[in-house]
């Protein structure tokens, strides 16, 4: 398989922070808002360099979304930042009316998505945000997989006209996406070509999928690894092309199986090309406190679970 050597480990939120620093220097229309989580969002440098373009909102997420919509009306490109739970489920109606329905150029950029925020537990571990956000017309939903991709996605979000939900996380993970790899919103990335099974992964599960790829190869199974960083609009062309070649697939995400990436892929397959699909994700349950690694293991999000799912999908292929 294609190798993705890495020398560094970083959190995806730092990739966001780096993207914001660059945007602060290159795009005078970009403004940032935060609801009392500046340190967590890694936007200190943006704020230091552009104090007049930062608005501290306090712990008032609903107001932050509305203020962002207003700033967007005037032609600014606001990034509204907080934890994923408080930037989605807490403010769904505000996003729905003032951002999505009104089609405002607001970027909702959220960290600490999913189980891997760890010890804070289920109150903070939103696993339903992709479902909510992909259900909204006009909304683009992006879930990048490492530091470099998050930085690229941040810059690409600013250049896209329209609402964006950009989701990233807290744990420190390998930086394996080459810095110069092109990033295009809505365009899946084939990380490894294979013939027996397609593995569509997003966010932190992409690294796990690459580990699974190696484990499968050791057993003589050729897996195609596709990084779906954009949940919506979904790159259905890439998905169908891959499944037509391999005949089955696995979806892998740090999200509820209900309403996540896997469901979007299933919809694509059911309406275009029937093929077995297995789902790696959280199975209709809330999370709990623990280290990111322990939680990934317990809730079946590690490479081993992807390997099992891949074998199951392959076994279900009609002979």
């Amino acid at each position: 398989m294609k190798q993705y050597p890495y020398t560094d480990k970083k959190d995806t939120r730092s990739g966001f922070g780096a993207g914001m620093t660059e945007l602060g220097r290159t795009n005078p229309d970009v403004v940032t808002l935060c609801a009392d989580l500046v340190g967590s969002l890694k936007i200190d440098t943006f704020i230091q360099e552009n104090p007049e373009r930062f608005f501290q909102c306090g712990i008032s997420e609903a107001n932050m979304i509305g203020v962002s919509a207003g700033l967007a009306i005037t032609g600014k490109i606001p990034f509204a930042t907080t934890f994923a739970n408080f930037g989605s489920s807490r403010v769904f109606d505000q996003i729905r009316q003032a951002v999505a329905y009104s089609n405002k150029n607001v970027k909702i950029a959220v960290s600490h998505a999913g189980l891997t925020l760890g010890e804070d537990g289920a109150t903070h571990q939103v696993l339903e945000d992709l479902a909510m956000m992909k259900a909204l017309p006009n909304m683009t939903v992006i879930n990048p997989c490492d530091y470099n991709q998050t930085k690229a996605a941040t810059i690409a979000s600013a250049n896209l006209e329209g609402p964006v939900y950009l989701r990233f996380g807290r744990p420190v993970i390998p930086v394996f996406i080459p810095e110069d790899m092109p990033f295009e919103i809505g365009k899946a990335i084939i990380l490894n070509e294979g013939t027996d099974v397609s593995i569509f992964a997003t966010g932190h599960l992409v690294w796990e999928a690459l580990q699974a790829c190696q484990l499968l190869e050791d057993e003589g199974i050729s897996a195609e690894i596709i990084n779906i960083h954009t949940i919506k609009p979904l790159d259905t062309e890439a998905i169908l092309a891959s499944v037509k070649k391999t005949g089955c697939c696995v979806s892998a995400e740090e999200h509820q199986i209900n309403g996540g990436l896997g469901e979007s892929i299933a919809h694509t397959l059911v309406t275009n090309y029937l093929a077995p699909q297995e789902f790696v994700g959280v199975k209709d349950t809330f999370g709990e406190s623990g280290t990111p690694d322990e939680l990934m293991e317990k809730y079946g999000l590690k490479a081993g679970s992807i390997v099992e799912a891949a074998k199951k999908a392959i076994a279900r292929k009609s002979k």
Binding site: V31, E52, R53, F55, C57, G58, S60, A62, N63, M64, I65, G66, V67, S68, A69, G70, L71, A72, I73, T74, G75, K76, P78, D93, Q94, R96, Q97, A98, Y101, S102, N103, K104
Partner: protein, 282 residues
Amino acid sequence: MNLQDIASQVRRDIVRMVHGVKSGHPGGSLGCTDLLVSLYFKHMELKTDDQGQVVFDMEGNNEDVFFLSNGHISPVLYSVLAHRGYFPVPELATFRKLDSRLQGHPATAEHLPGIRIASGSLGQGLSVAIGVALGKKLKGDSHLVYVLMGDGEQQEGQIWEAATFAPHHKVDNLIAFIDFNGQQIDGPTDKVMNNRDLGVKYEAFGWEVLHMDGNDYTSLDTVLTQAKGLAGQGKPIVIITKTEMGQGVDFMMHTHKWHGTAPNDEQLAKALAQLPETLGDY
């Protein structure tokens, strides 16, 4: 034409629009008619072309902008926008009908000139107006942002998030109105959920608080002029605007019953008999 005459036509439009589709919100619309007419026909600085025709652009640069947070009183906004020249008056006949730009609650999806954000889910407009006011400041545009909210709407938590934010960030190019008609859907506001003294509350939050009779043109003129004079002095401004729900149609006044009820044919005739046609019905 004087403002009272324009208002009479707007009130005719309101009852006719709501009657035409047997739905919509006449009570608050009638109560806020004089305020919106005063703003759009006298007090707001609006962008116009050489012929004096209003020109709409989404960003609203270098002009005053208005937001309706209590979106259910869309009939009054639509009528005022149409008569001010933002879109053809006959289009009022499409209110709430399929394929219309005049949605039940204001929306941007159909690109109706004059509307910059959707409203209808209450409690959001103050935040949006603050964002626009901040945007104007960033761009060095000294024009004002106006926003109207309901008094029942003050029960929404987001309003108080916004009310905390605006003084903190010295958003002093913002004039907010509270339609203080004392009514909401389930009855008088004091009974449904007592807001207590809104003036005292806003003052405690750091706002400049003014009071106005929203159905009296002398009061409207005096207080709006005073409010504009207070802009730019470090504080956001709120005007508690006393109105009478249903103002101008006697049987719709002094009750919350006409918050969201359409008149039947007979009631329409009775209402129109009290409202002289001044600019011509659509």
